[in-house]
């Protein structure tokens, strides 16, 4: 066991959540009741399901396949944004293009993105690693990510905190963050939105108002500033005051594992099938 993992277990009061679970729970806590969230498959959807059941029952979840107000069933979270499991029980089904036009119109409070690479200005790469004309790794590409980061009112980036992901400059700007910082996003014609938070297994980060450089705001429990610095491939803004996020709680962890289908029926009261 490394020193960091020992500190983590102590800080989470013996619960021992996995790093991805810590991250998903932190992301879910950012979601406010009554807002509209454009979610992707995986952690964003789990974060949304968790938030809806704990503190944000009126969170409306959008999927790029054309689904508005989706219904999330424990253990049956969809594998794709374009499949029956994602659509059954939705409040509305429209076209995929219409979903993104609603994003452009400004209806969506949050977008949630995962990344292959993110840089100090919140630019996101999910397209390729290496030389763009002859990449060493061809990745799946933007899907909805370019439009989400260009058009949602704010975008939360959720990713493991590793030097290979947190790079000085992304190999390819699939989805525009604050570009080269300062006013460059606005000068490129993007008048709205942008990355607001970066949630990782080590920390919660945001972007400084003037330079638009990534800034450490709070540490995950048990994590120290030097852990974050070591896992970041560029110079972060580190303010004098850095907060510490609340530890994961037992009810959060139990519910999340249930939603993920990892546990059968751990909920002590109420009808947990119905949302």
């Amino acid at each position: 066991m490394t020193a960091l993992s020992e500190r983590r277990v102590a800080a989470h009061q013996g619960l021992d959540p996995r790093p991805d679970e810590v991250m998903t729970i932190s992301a879910s806590r950012l979601l406010e009741d009554g807002k509209v969230m454009f979610a992707g498959i995986g952690q964003p959807l789990v974060a949304a399901a968790l938030a809806r059941r704990r503190h944000a029952p009126n969170l409306t979840v959008i999927l790029e396949g054309g689904m508005v107000g989706i219904h999330l069933m424990p253990g049956e979270l969809p594998d794709s944004t374009n499949e029956m499991r994602a659509a059954i029980g939705a409040e509305m089904l429209t076209s995929a293009t219409d979903i993104f036009l609603m994003a452009q119109r400004g209806f969506f409070d949050y977008g949630f993105l995962g990344v292959a690479q993110v840089d100090m200005f919140g630019n996101v790469n999910t397209s390729l690693i290496g030389d763009p004309s002859r990449p060493s790794v061809r990745l799946p590409g933007p899907g909805g990510a370019n439009d989400i980061l260009s058009m949602c009112n704010e975008t939360v980036i959720v990713t493991n905190h590793e030097p290979r992901r947190f790079v000085e400059r992304v190999d390819w700007v699939t989805s525009p963050g604050f570009l080269s910082g300062g006013d460059s996003r606005r000068e490129a014609g993007l008048r709205h939105g942008g990355p607001s938070w970066v949630v990782t297994d080590l920390a919660l980060l945001d972007f400084e108002d003037e330079t638009r450089r990534m800034r450490l705001r709070s540490l995950q429990p048990g994590v120290e500033v030097h852990d974050v610095v070591a896992a970041t491939g560029f110079e972060l803004i580190i303010p004098e005051e850095v907060g510490v996020l609340d530890p994961v709680t037992e009810p959060e962890l139990t519910l999340m594992r249930h939603l993920n289908g990892e546990t059968a029926s751990p909920i002590e009261n109420g009808d947990h099938r119905a949302e």
């Binding site: 396949g65 374009n82 029956m84 029980g89 763009p132 799946p140 699939t174």
Partner: protein, 322 residues
């Protein structure tokens, strides 16, 4: 590069062709073999309906593979392994998409990676809305639509997208060029013999794709009387006058899913991916060789466990809201 440098971006030519070649209200039912023979040509830009593993026109695509075509461009917003069958066999010269993956936990698209990373396929990457607006502009009969999509990103820079200045506000947006694909292949839940077609669940981009396409082949789970469409006309998303051919093909999206009819067959994904894991693109070619050895989709379906198909069908029907 101008917008016309993008294949399929000539909306004026698409309109002129439509004025010359109407699609009168006739019985358009025919076999997949006839539809593909008549309407899919070498070097076509093919718009593949559905997205990822939803309502993929698998029977029609398999018929294209069976007959063989060359220099194809495949356009689809979210692309699954169907594109790899065309890449591995050398029939596709170009992929136009916003995303390629296999899904169901199978991760990256290995054949696509092999070809892109060795520079053997032309890969054109758009945003999801970018491709959606290309179809929408094509469907509207205009050469471009203004949008914020891809601004500031390397997608727009690489595509050399041009800006357009709003004459009222002075604001600059990207001019997203239209796409009127040479042919579109779309699978639907039901249609009449004239091609009036209903899509259940998510239409994805298919209403626009159908209007934009210069030729349109639909496959359908069932053929119904026109009178039964009148019971729920708001669900009719494709008008018959946009359609060239209607192919009756139950399970026409198998092994992908069709909303309300059957779920995707994850075992079939596994058999494809096992072939690719073992032999890369050679494995994909062997998969295609076995697929096209069946004379048609029905005989391919007869080779699949009927109990499995029944379960996928029952599970899909059991999920429907009631």
């Amino acid at each position: 590069m101008t917008a016309l440098a993008f294949p399929g971006a000539d909306t004026v030519a698409a309109r002129e062709e439509l004025e010359r070649e109407r699609r009168p209200r006739l019985d358009k039912t025919m076999s997949a073999a006839e539809a593909i023979r008549r309407f899919v040509c070498d070097a076509d830009v093919i718009a593949v309906g559905g997205t990822n593993h939803a309502r993929t026109p698998m029977a029609l695509l398999a018929e294209v593979l069976r007959q063989g075509r060359s220099e194809l461009s495949l356009a689809r917003p979210l692309t699954c392994f169907e594109a790899e069958l065309f890449i591995a066999t050398g029939m596709a010269a170009k992929v136009v998409t916003s995303w390629v993956g296999i899904g169901h936990g199978w991760g990256l698209a290995r054949v696509l990676r092999e070809y892109v990373e060795s520079g053997r396929i032309d890969y054109e990457e758009w945003s999801h809305l970018g491709l959606g607006l290309r179809y929408k502009a094509g469907a509207m009969g205009v050469p471009f639509l203004p949008s914020y999509t891809m601004m500031g990103s390397d997608l727009g820079r690489r595509l050399e997208l041009a800006g357009v200045v709003c004459p009222y506000t002075g604001q600059t947006l990207y001019a997203v060029p239209s796409l009127n694909p040479d042919v579109a292949l779309i699978h639907v839940q039901r249609a009449d013999i004239y091609g009036n077609a209903q899509i259940d669940g998510y239409e994805l981009m298919d209403a626009d794709v159908a209007r934009a396409a210069r030729r349109l082949v639909i496959s359908t789970e069932e053929i119904v009387d026109t009178d039964s469409l009148r019971l729920d006309p708001s669900r009719t998303t494709i008008p018959g006058f946009a359609v060239d051919a209607v192919v009756l093909q139950p399970l026409g999206a198998y092994p992908h899913e069709c909303y309300g009819h059957y779920l995707a067959d994850e075992e079939a994904f596994s058999s494809y991916m096992d072939a690719v894991r073992a032999g890369g693109s050679k494995g994909a070619r062997e998969y295609v060789k076995a697929l096209v050895a069946y004379p048609d989709h029905d005989s391919f379906l007869a080779s699949v466990s009927q109990a499995r198909i029944q379960k996928l069908t029952e599970d899909a029907k059991g999920m429907m809201p009631r």
